[in-house]
């Protein structure tokens, strides 16, 4: 590890920290319907959208109404993308004349983008028309992110409201998240990315002759407009297969820094929104602190593993960090940081091949995702995932002060525990069971490129990533019918089987009487609470996966040190 490497991480973190409050404040105003800078321009647009769609913005929804809207909206957009991918051959903006996608791949891709996963079993530059990229994928990048933010807002409202049983209006939250937050940032930063060299055109790919005398195809297309929302919405689906490792998506260290920032910033700001809406910003900073600690622990492990390099390579007389599968312009530190950031959140954009990381370097992204991506997390999903852990922590540890547990003064009782544990069950079931099926069935093993623990890691990573709606891949695993369908279902369940209990949890908390805070009540913003929260996340969230992780990355790490590879 080098001082420069650490400096990058620390400066990066400080910038996130600096942006959390102002952005959080702005988002609080947006979702409370207060006036903001953009109001003069956007309020008429917003009103027009409501008039056009017949939405009554003042109508509030109970949790099941909210959940129904989320599900209905997602179903419609899923069908829309599926149809688009299956008919792109006959639609405009297809200069490369790509064929329609196969049904199972189209299903996998449609689910992938609708669920904010952006798992890519396809190669963008060789299968997708520009129309599919823009009107299909980029559109989902916006609305799936906005839907996530909307759900987070609904959950926050449920936690804080002491009267009424409603959680807000999904259509209003969706519209405001897109209009006031995602769109302005995308336009501004998107143009900046283009200024740094990211292509933005409708031209066909160019074939050039290099100095070496060979022919090379340079992909083009509307990349800039999709790149920005790919990070900001923690989507992660690259325009091209190489994702942010490609110079077309991520031309310079500066864009690399900006892209990482975009991935984390909304998730970080949402902690402030939570504290602000709870009328006690310490509540938000407590979550931020827990997230920051997990962030640095994760980064340290990856960076240490990558910087230490591969002992087998060292034996060949090549000293230094592990640079296999990394862009040398980013190096070990920026690649480690990107890998941490992208799996702390549900982004899944990559600027290096996680498959080529050292075993421990690859373990951290897996663990990050297995925790449910609650370290700042996917836009919205990180916060509601964290709140589920907060409820569990409050319940387990809150009893220790000699009172029945309370969160923001509200009693955590049977129903709250029921929904929280229901949500907590989803990740272990959806990661471990399909991995088990794949590990012992011919269909699961057929397209596995590596054997032994590394092969196991690849399967585990695939189901962990799709369940967590991350979308980054360990590579080494090629698509087939089994994986297309299984990972598709996994993405679908991984998203909605958490959203529904999270909303139900919020629904039971909404309108609950809050008990006054006093010397006898458990504070959910003390350092002890932050430590407990991390403890519960690690013991309840991560230990479940220890056997599986032990058989994958952990044992691989031990074996590589003994000189064995796979």
């Amino acid at each position: 590890m080098t001082a420069i490497g650490w400096l990058q991480a620390i400066i990066f973190f400080l910038v996130v920290l600096a942006l959390t409050k102002p952005l959080g404040l702005y988002m609080t105003r947006v979702f409370s319907g207060e006036r903001t800078w953009f109001s003069p321009v956007l309020v008429p647009v917003e009103r027009f959208i409501y008039r056009l769609s017949g939405v009554n913005p003042d109508e509030e929804m109970p949790w099941y109404g909210y959940a129904f809207c989320v599900l209905a909206f997602s179903l419609v957009s899923l069908v829309y993308l599926y149809v688009l991918l299956r008919t792109q051959k006959w639609l405009p903006l297809n200069p490369q004349h790509f064929d329609n996608m196969t049904p199972d791949l189209a299903w996998n891709t449609a689910v992938s983008f609708m669920t904010n996963t952006n798992w890519q079993f396809y190669s963008g530059e060789s299968t997708m028309s520009y129309l599919s990229q823009m009107a299909g994928l980029a559109w989902h990048n916006f609305v799936s992110a906005a839907a996530g933010i909307a759900v987070a807002l609904a959950v926050i409202r449920g936690v804080i409201r002491t009267s009424g049983k409603t959680l807000g209006n999904f259509w209003v939250d969706l519209t405001r998240a897109s209009l006031y937050i995602l769109l302005p940032a995308s336009i501004a930063v998107g143009l900046f990315l283009v200024s740094q060299g990211v292509p933005q055109n409708f031209a066909a790919y160019q074939t050039i002759h290099t100095l070496e005398g060979t022919a090379q195809t340079i992909t083009g297309g509307p990349i800039g407009s999709q790149e920005i929302i790919k990070e900001l919405g923690t989507n992660g689906g690259g325009f091209v297969n190489a994702n942010s490792a490609s110079p077309n998506e991520n031309p310079s260290p500066l864009t690399n820094f900006i892209e990482m920032l975009l991935i984390l910033v909304i998730g970080a700001a949402l902690t402030y929104v939570y504290g602000r809406m709870a009328k006690n910003t310490k509540q938000g900073w407590a979550l931020f602190s827990a997230m920051s600690i997990l962030f640095f622990v994760g980064f340290t492990v990856v960076y240490a593993a990558e910087a230490a390099g591969n002992p087998l390579v060292h034996q060949l007389g090549v000293a230094g960090a592990n640079l296999e599968g990394k862009e040398t312009r980013f190096g070990a530190a920026a690649s480690a940081l990107f890998a941490t950031v992208t799996t702390d959140t549900s982004c899944g954009a990559v600027n290096a091949a996680h498959d080529s990381f050292m075993a421990l370097g690859g373990l951290v992204p897996i663990v990050n995702m297995q925790l449910g991506e609650i370290v700042f997390g996917g836009v919205g999903s990180g916060l509601y995932g964290m709140i589920i852990f907060v409820v569990l922590t409050v319940f387990i540890a809150g009893l220790m002060v000699g009172r029945t547990p309370e969160l923001l003064g509200k009693k955590i009782e049977r129903r709250e525990v029921q929904f929280a544990i229901l949500a907590a069950l989803v990740t272990p079931i959806l990661v471990l069971v399909p991995t088990a099926v794949a590990a012992v069935t011919p269909a699961g093993l057929a397209t596995l490129n590596n054997a032994g623990p590394h092969g196991f890691s690849e399967i585990l990573y695939a189901f962990t990533s799709t369940n967590a709606n991350n979308g980054s891949a360990f590579a080494g695993l090629s698509p087939n019918l089994f994986y297309n369908i299984a990972t598709g279902l996994n993405m679908l369940f991984g998203r909605f089987l958490i959203i529904v209990p999270a909303l139900a949890l919020a629904g039971t908390l909404a309108g609950k009487k809050a008990v006054a805070e006093g010397a006898g009540t458990f504070t959910t913003y003390s350092p002890v609470f932050v430590a407990l929260l991390i403890g519960v996340i690690v013991i309840v969230g991560a230990l479940t996966f220890l056997p599986a992780d032990a058989l994958g990355p952990v044992v691989e790490h031990l074996l590589v040190n003994q000189g064995k590879t796979f």
């Binding site: 387990i396 009893l399 220790m400 000699g402 544990i421 196991f456 809050a514 006054a516 010397a519 058989l551």
Partner: protein
């Protein structure tokens, strides 16, 4: 023949490790193996299923002379122990209650009753009595059922119910009218209106409660059970999927090994002790001679934010004492004392008697009331009492404004020179009683409230726990403020009426606080019902007892503070053991995982950080630790964790350190020690 046998006194305390209790508990732990019973506790049910399966594997090994019979036997035996230990914990917790219930059942045996009807008295068995019947009970007879005294007064021995040997007075009217079936009248004859049908009496309810037959899981217990079941499902999946993973890794694991891992991971420690903790909490309340009508009430006591405490009997000793008689200007000190003496001679109230004592001690008075004197008792309307002497002299003592009004009515013009004294006494927390003789005010009596010892200290402790204390008193605000200040309560409600008390409870509740109170009178009933925790005095009326969710058999209002502490302790014990149980998993993973996979991946032994001797010993040590920790924690579960009243954050820090961090460290040490022992004994 009316029952005249002597009643035994109900034994209050019995050691937890009483021989009979333990013997019975051992038997009960086997009876509780019945799967229908075990189903109530999903965590332990899984362990039982695991024990059955491993036993089956052991038998199969024996028949087929399989190689791992010894290992499978050890695992299955320790799994059975795990279940039995958990059942034993529950059985011991129930033991004391069962012993109490046996005693109470003997008390309940049928007696005969004299039922009074319009024209006759007939003798019927007590089981024939119905609500509304009137019965007559004389000295040395057992009261045949719960009821209210409708006429007469009697000394009643209630030791069969309360365990207290001192007899109590029960009389018609007022707040001491209720009697309990099974208690014995010592003197006089009373008539009682029966208020409960057979099978619904206080004694029946009490038997049900102490025995735990009517025990239902409390809301918090249900929520915790859901959490534990959820965790069990998660670990079930983690372990079940290990089978295919191990097949992929080429080192297929046997079912007994997987079951051993599963049992170690699921929260058996808290799962096995959960119901024992709840029963023991109820039992601790019972040991304090308080009958909680539900476990829910004890749980709610832990959440209380505001305690409403009656001044009299809780904060101060029941009776005020006269300490001084101050003569008015121009009145001789002896004269004032004499008037005080005369007005109080026939007054049987504690205050009246204390005045007589003070006067006697002063040596300034003597003699008795002349024949034909008329006593004028205190009434809420006149707010004074006194004596009309045969010579036409009238002496009165009472509330200053009432006495002044009386003097004016008699045509006198009372001097106001005593008003400063009255003010001074009230300000100091005392009660001024103005003395008047015919048309003149002759002096003022200083009645002093005597604070119970150590109350300030208790209120300080409550404050540290975050509980506000509010003193309820009928005194005027000035007096109330002084006593409140002296006792150290946070707030007070002066000139309290039942309505004001009710309004205060509702106000506190609306601002998000849970309220506890004690009461005994019928007019307390609505407030007792409204409060989150209402403790009725056993000496109180039937209405109060019915409205409350706890009854204090000792009728000691200070008990409320202890009840709150028990409630908190109960919740803390639950939380601490849950944390401990979950934290234990870290060590168990490190014991069992390397043991499972070092054969396939020798490099895995790096994870064997405890350096356990063999894979078999590692697994067995973890299982043994897991079983023994239940036994080791039974005393803690039954006694409750150490409880020191202080702020929530301090308590949390301490418990996280002991049970959270301790929960991570202890099993590492325990498993290592068991492994060393197994290796030393060549058992693996």
């Amino acid at each position: 023949m009316l029952s005249q046998r002597r009643l035994e006194r109900r034994p209050k305390a019995r050691s937890l490790w009483d021989r009979t209790i333990v013997t019975r508990a051992v038997g009960d732990s086997f009876k509780k193996l019945d799967p229908r019973w075990m189903m109530r506790n999903p965590v332990m049910f899984i362990v039982e299923v695991g024990a059955v399966v491993t036993t089956f594997f052991f038998l199969r090994d024996v028949i087929s002379h399989g190689g791992s019979a010894g290992f499978d036997f050890a695992i299955s035996a320790w799994l059975w122990f795990t279940v039995l230990f958990a059942n034993f914990a529950e059985a011991v917790a129930e033991g004391r209650g069962k012993a109490q219930a046996d005693f109470l059942r003997r008390t309940k045996s049928d007696t005969m009753a004299r039922r009074v009807s319009a024209n006759a008295i007939e003798t019927v068995p007590s089981s024939d009595l119905r609500k509304g019947d009137i019965v007559e009970v004389s000295a040395n007879e057992v009261i045949p059922g719960d009821g209210d005294v409708v006429s007469g007064a009697a000394m009643v021995d209630e030791s069969a119910i309360t365990g207290e040997s001192a007899p109590v007075v029960r009389e018609a009217g007022g707040d001491r009218s209720s009697v309990t079936g099974g208690t014995r009248v010592l003197s006089d004859t009373i008539r009682i209106s029966i208020t409960a049908n057979p099978g619904e009496t206080f004694l029946d309810r009490m038997i049900g409660l102490v025995e735990g037959a009517a025990r239902q899981k409390t809301p918090n217990e249900i929520a915790l059970s859901i959490l534990l079941s959820g965790l069990t499902i998660i670990f079930l999946i983690a372990v079940a999927t290990l089978l295919p993973y191990s097949i992929y890794a080429g080192t297929r694991q046997t079912l007994p090994v997987l079951i051993a891992l599963l049992v170690c991971l699921i929260p058996t420690t808290i799962g096995g002790l959960l119901s024992a903790i709840g029963i023991a909490g109820m039992d601790r309340v019972m040991q304090r001679n308080v009958l909680a009508m539900s476990g829910r009430a004890v749980e709610a006591a832990g959440d209380v934010d505001t305690l409403l405490l009656d001044k009299t009997g809780t904060i101060t000793l029941g009776n005020r004492q006269a300490t001084e008689v101050i003569p008015a200007a121009g009145v001789d000190g002896g004269e004032a004392m004499h008037v005080a003496y005369l007005s109080s001679l026939p007054d049987e109230t504690p205050e009246g008697r204390s005045i007589v004592l003070l006067a006697d001690a002063s040596g300034q008075v003597d003699g008795k009331l002349p024949e034909g004197s008329q006593f004028v008792p205190f009434s809420a309307y006149t707010r004074m009492s006194g004596v009309d002497l045969p010579d036409g002299t009238k002496v009165r003592k009472g509330a200053p404004d009432a006495v002044l009004a009386w003097v004016r009515e008699a045509g006198g013009t009372p001097s106001t020179d005593l008003s400063a004294q009255v003010e001074r006494i009230a300000r100091a927390g005392g009660t001024p009683l103005l003395l008047a003789k015919n048309q003149t005010v002759v002096g003022v009596i200083y009645l002093k409230d005597i604070l119970k010892p150590n109350m300030r200290d208790r209120f300080d402790r409550l404050r540290a726990m975050g509980i506000r204390t509010v003193m309820i008193t009928g005194d005027n605000p000035l007096t109330a403020a002084a006593i409140a200040g002296e006792a150290g309560v946070d707030d007070f409600l002066a000139e309290a009426t039942p309505e004001a008390k009710m309004a205060l409870i509702k106000r506190e509740q609306n601002s998000g606080r849970l309220v506890a109170m004690t009461g005994d009178g019928t007019n307390d009933a609505p407030a007792l019902a409204q409060a989150d925790v209402g403790v009725a005095m056993n000496s109180g009326t039937q209405a109060a007892k019915e409205a409350a969710n706890m009854v204090d058999l000792d009728s000691d209002p200070t008990k409320l503070i202890e009840i709150v502490e028990i409630g908190k302790q109960l919740l803390m014990t639950r939380g601490s053991l849950t944390t401990f149980s979950i934290a234990n998993d870290v060590a168990k993973y490190f014991a069992i995982l390397p043991a499972m996979f070092t054969v396939a991946y020798p490099a895995m032994s790096a994870l064997n950080i405890m350096r356990l001797s063999t894979p078999q010993s590692a697994i067995l040590s973890a299982v043994i630790f897991n079983a023994l920790i239940i036994i080791a924690l039974i005393p803690l579960a039954l006694r409750g964790v150490k409880y020191v009243p202080k702020g929530a954050n301090a308590v949390l820090r301490e418990n996280v350190l002991i049970y959270g961090l301790g929960g991570i460290v202890v099993p590492f040490i325990g498993i290592k020690l068991i492994d060393l022992l197994l290796a030393a004994l060549h058992l693996t």
